[in-house]
């Protein structure tokens, strides 16, 4: 028998009640190997206002490029303290900030390697189904040949690449509408 997936619904304005217990702003606790990086940004609505009731979730591989998941069968090391999951609510200005390590390369379409990236889900009141997007790293030569990024219209690719604010700190924003609207994916 075949079923259809249940319909998605908005998280609404009171999402914090159910979701805050699992807030994880430091995805890689001390001792987890890899280049440490803080990523900060804002969620911005169609009026240019910060969204103060949004939450983003991050999923990523470790520094060796392996996901903590049984379907990642690569022979690469895992670390006990690293799950690869982050959850961060926005503040009154719509801003978020989290710390992690830069992931390694992971396999992509056609047996080509994907450049280091984080996958991101975006939730908020007024969004009837969450949005999926990615964060790539700046100054990463592999971005140019990333088999996934190359499928995104070239003029919009930059919305998926963080910018360097200063040493160890990157900026990446979620722009919901208009010029520089973030690329969101359908799978």
């Amino acid at each position: 028998m075949s079923l259809y997936a249940t319909g998605n619904q908005t998280v609404g304005p009171y999402l914090h009640i159910g979701l805050t217990w699992l807030v994880t702003r430091n995805i890689a606790p001390r001792g987890v190997p890899g280049e440490r990086v803080t990523i900060q940004g804002r969620v911005i609505d169609g009026d240019g206002q910060g969204v103060n009731d949004a939450m983003i979730e991050i999923w990523q591989a470790n520094a060796h490029g392996r996901y903590v998941h049984p379907e990642d069968t690569q022979k690469k090391p895992l670390q006990r303290a690293f799950r690869g999951f982050g959850r961060v609510p926005t503040d009154a200005r719509g801003a978020f900030r989290f710390t992690t390590i830069k992931p390694g390369f992971v396999p992509g379409p056609g047996a080509r390697q994907q450049a280091p990236h984080l996958v991101v889900s975006v939730f908020m009141r007024g969004l009837l189904k969450h949005l999926a997007t990615r964060i790539y790293f700046p100054d990463e030569p592999a971005n140019a040949r990333d088999p996934f990024l190359r499928l995104v219209p070239e003029e919009r690719r930059s919305t998926l690449v963080a910018s360097r604010k200063r040493e160890g700190v990157l900026e990446w924003n979620v722009i919901l509408q208009g010029k520089d609207e973030t690329v969101f994916f359908d799978f």
Binding site: S2, L3, Y4, A5, T6, G7, N8, Q9, T10, P13, Y14, L15, H16, I17, G18, L19, L22, G46, D47, V51, E57, W59, Y67, V68, H69, D72, T73, R83, G84, F85, V106, P107, G108, P109, G110, A111, Q114, H117, V119, S121, M124, R125, G126, L127, L128, K129, L131, A132, R134, F148, V152, L176, Q177, E181, T182, V183, F184, F185, D186, F187
Partner: protein, 234 residues
Amino acid sequence: MSKLKGYRRYHPGTQPDYDYPPYRSTAKRHPTQPLVLMPQTLSEITGPLFGFDDLKPTDNDLTRQHKGEPIGERIIVSGRVLDENSRAVPNTLIEIWQANAAGRYPHQADQHKAPLDPNFSGAGRTLTDAEGRYRFVSIRPGEYPWRNHYNAWRPAHIHFSLFGQAFLTRMVTQMYFPGDPLIPYDPMYTCIADENARQRLISSFDWETTIPEQALGYRFDIVLRGRDATPMER
């Protein structure tokens, strides 16, 4: 790693559109560009997994999280989490949140003049068992007004958040109660075009889980995206 088992795409009409004018907040928060259709990679067919270490014993009983007992009609909300191939989704995290019996959330953004209940926080979580079953004990949430349109009231509902076993199976939904007269007027409910898909958001009254002298049972089964029939070359 060349063969990955991908996930089926959502069936047309069963999911809300991002731009849905009857729900006013979508106006400035929906993407105006079409979503970009992408291949599923290892990054999306994996996802965070959780375990019993993440939970406390009272997490699935919202009536036992404080010293006193909350006000309200006791309910048991239970069901199964399946995939589109009718297979159980075991060991998956479910998070819920809801208003108290008076229709009020303990949240600074909720200014509705209904009483707070010091014995009710309205949040729960659990893991499904090996057959995909879950069970929560709670109180029936109240309906409450919101300012979406004139005389707008949300039907009683419980928010559900589920992970499944992949980034692609992540889902947030809402469960409604059978017979609630507000349901047909609710933009959250009507945002789903397909009538059958809509109705599946309404739980069913369940004698089997109803506890005599104590609590009414409601059954709510949830279906997450399932695997494609054949592995695809990636």
